[in-house]
């Protein structure tokens, strides 16, 4: 509140500042939301209207059915979207299964080698995801896994970022909770899943949201390892679609883009707080 506004000034100046604030922020919102509005608008229009000399956001002739049915039948768009859900779910499950025990060991156990493992995690954080691409590609080629779901999923099964995030969170869990569980005869493995996991839910949800965004939108790696159309992730599917349509049939193309973007936008609108908190908490990648 007191960051910019000079509270206590005359009402006229405060009104002027408020008008300025809304004008700038509204203009910014128009620019950030514009592409989404344009995308949906074009997905409802006929080809003739898209290339017409005059432009209006609202379609004059309703062409939605034609565009969307073409988008879903010309290419297996629904398959791409289901692939997206399947791949992101597999990746997140694996990331959580590997990260949680490791994060617990790093945060709450004292053992020789702990610092070394933590250094590995920090090193991993420094490496952008594109760097291991060439050796990973060679590895998958040698074991004959190129062009499979496994090729898309395997490299993402480990998230050093997830380990780091969960470790930071576990550090704040009181030791007495763990001691009490040990006295009750709970083993270390049980502590991870029955004591730590429930307390870590907020951090895990935030991480899940980020993992979902990253892996749904990931383009570089699927582009390298996937050739078969039926394995395509949503972004790759859109590119297949654009190539098949030579990139000029904008109505169905925008319908496909809308369909691929919709799950993330809907998820964002439903769980805005988690998205923004998750990204703020973390923003490392």
């Amino acid at each position: 509140m007191s960051v910019l506004a000079s509270a206590g000034r005359s009402p006229a100046r405060r009104l002027a500042f408020s008008a300025f604030r809304h004008a700038v922020l509204l203009a910014a919102s128009v620019l950030t939301l514009g592409p989404f509005v344009l995308m949906v608008s074009i997905s409802l229009k006929s080809p003739g209207e898209i290339f017409a000399p005059e432009f209006s956001l609202w379609p004059q002739t309703w062409y939605a059915w034609e565009n969307y049915s073409l988008a879903f039948t010309k290419q297996p768009l629904l398959r791409f979207i289901l692939n997206g859900f399947f791949i992101t779910l597999c990746i997140f499950t694996a990331q959580a299964l590997f990260a949680l025990p490791c994060a617990y060991a790093l945060a709450k156990l004292r053992w020789r080698g702990r610092n070394t493992v933590f250094v590995f995690v920090l090193l991993g954080l420094l490496v952008p995801p594109q760097v291991p691409a060439i050796p990973l590609y060679i590895l998958l080629w040698q074991v004959g896994l190129l062009d499979t779901y496994a090729a898309i999923i395997l490299p993402s099964t480990i998230s050093v970022f997830g380990i780091f995030l969960m470790r930071q969170f576990f550090m704040t869990v009181p030791d007495s909770l763990i001691h009490a569980a040990r006295l009750d005869g709970v083993g270390e493995f049980g502590i991870v899943w029955r004591i730590m996991l429930p307390t870590a839910m907020p951090a895990l949800v935030a991480f899940g949201v980020l993992s979902f965004i990253w892996n749904w939108n990931e383009f570089f790696w699927p582009l390298l390892v996937v050739q078969s159309e039926h394995l395509a992730t949503p972004p790759l599917g859109v590119v297949f679609f654009a190539n098949a349509e030579a990139g000029t049939n904008y109505g169905p193309l925008m319908a496909a883009a809308t369909a691929v973007t919709a799950p993330l936008v809907i998820a964002f609108l439903l769980a805005q707080r988690w998205f923004i908190e998750g990204v703020t908490m973390t923003a490392v990648k």
């Binding site: 592409p35 004292r110 053992w111 090193l123 291991p132 060439i134 939108n217 993330l264």
Partner: protein, 311 residues
């Protein structure tokens, strides 16, 4: 109280079983972290090390023999005009996207914080591009940049500004891609600055007011800006590293063209490694890319070390 009593009774028993406990903890530590460590090396650290080794060989994808050739790949890079174009384009892209998106992100955060009405709406609207599928949106921008029917040129024509075929004009294409990058980066920078602003203690503003700093600009210059220092360094580094990784828009909209005007490091790496199958040469390009990213992180650490004296 209960905790203290509990600790007192346990103490003797604990020291008696200390050695056994330590061994059990060592075992538990490795069992719990072992799978993650193994996978980390298999999928990330091992391959990253392998890229460095590979860059000193002559291997091409599928070749039966591999020869150690020292720094020859790097010597070839130094004489490769496409490499210098890629590097220059990447640096220009970063130098365009980072300042603009950081400035806009900061501006939006300050404006949102300085009033109460419609905060949630503005925050959501400006943040939405961060979560969107860049690839799908790139195709929307392709249409928006369309020379005749695109909204951008229509708007420019309406106000009488000269237009161009954005993605086909070698002088404009990189900046057109940069605008897409900025569109996506502003929201993230904004929420990071919002978090930074929340961390500024309120009483500092009151103290500044007592010192006579009651104008908005004075407040900003004397309190907000210095207190935002660490957040600023963080945001600049994050944005720079992410901008260095620009690939999607290049691959889909321009394919490095027109006339190499938008070739960037990762795109050249992709072409050399996966179109021309020159794995070792692409590995050398990857190492250059990694070097720049590590350099950015190093600069961040240096700046934050200096900054802590103010914190």
């Amino acid at each position: 109280m209960a905790d203290i009593a509990f600790d007192d009774t346990r103490l003797p028993a604990r020291s008696r079983s200390y050695r056994a406990g330590a061994a059990a903890e060592l075992l538990a530590g490795w069992v719990l972290s072992g799978p993650a460590v193994a996978l980390m090396w298999l999928m990330l650290l091992g391959p990253a090390a392998a890229v460095i080794v590979l860059s000193f060989t002559d291997w091409t994808f599928g070749a039966r023999s591999i020869e150690w050739i020292g720094v020859d790949n790097y010597v070839e890079l130094a004489g490769d005009r496409v490499f210098w174009t890629s590097l220059a384009n990447t640096l220009i892209y970063v130098a365009f996207v980072v300042p603009v998106s950081v400035f806009l992100g900061l501006g939006m955060a300050l404006l949102i914080e300085s009033g109460n009405s419609l905060r949630g709406f503005y925050r959501a609207a400006i943040f939405l591009p961060v979560t969107s599928t860049l690839l799908a949106m790139a195709l929307v921008f392709q249409f928006a940049f369309h020379p005749t029917v695109g909204v951008i040129n229509r708007t420019l024509m309406a106000v009488g500004i000269p237009t161009t075929d954005w993605l086909k004009n070698p002088d404009a294409a990189l900046f057109a891609l940069g605008m897409i990058g900025i569109w996506q980066a502003v929201g993230l920078n904004m929420v990071l600055f919002l978090a930074g602003l929340k961390a500024v203690p309120r009483d500092l503003y009151e103290a500044a007011a007592i010192d006579g700093a009651d104008g908005a600009w004075e407040r900003f210059r004397r309190v907000t800006w210095p207190m935002l220092g660490p957040a600023l360094v963080f945001v600049v580094t994050i944005t720079a590293i992410r901008s260095f990784q620009v690939f999607d828009t290049v691959a889909v909209l321009t394919e490095g063209g027109p006339n190499k005007a938008t070739t960037v490091l990762l795109y050249q790496m992709y072409q050399e490694g996966f179109s021309f199958l020159r794995s070792a040469y692409a590995a050398a390009l990857t190492c250059v890319f990694l070097g720049f990213v590590l350099l950015l992180t190093w600069i961040q650490v240096q700046l934050l070390d200096k900054r802590t004296h103010y914190g």
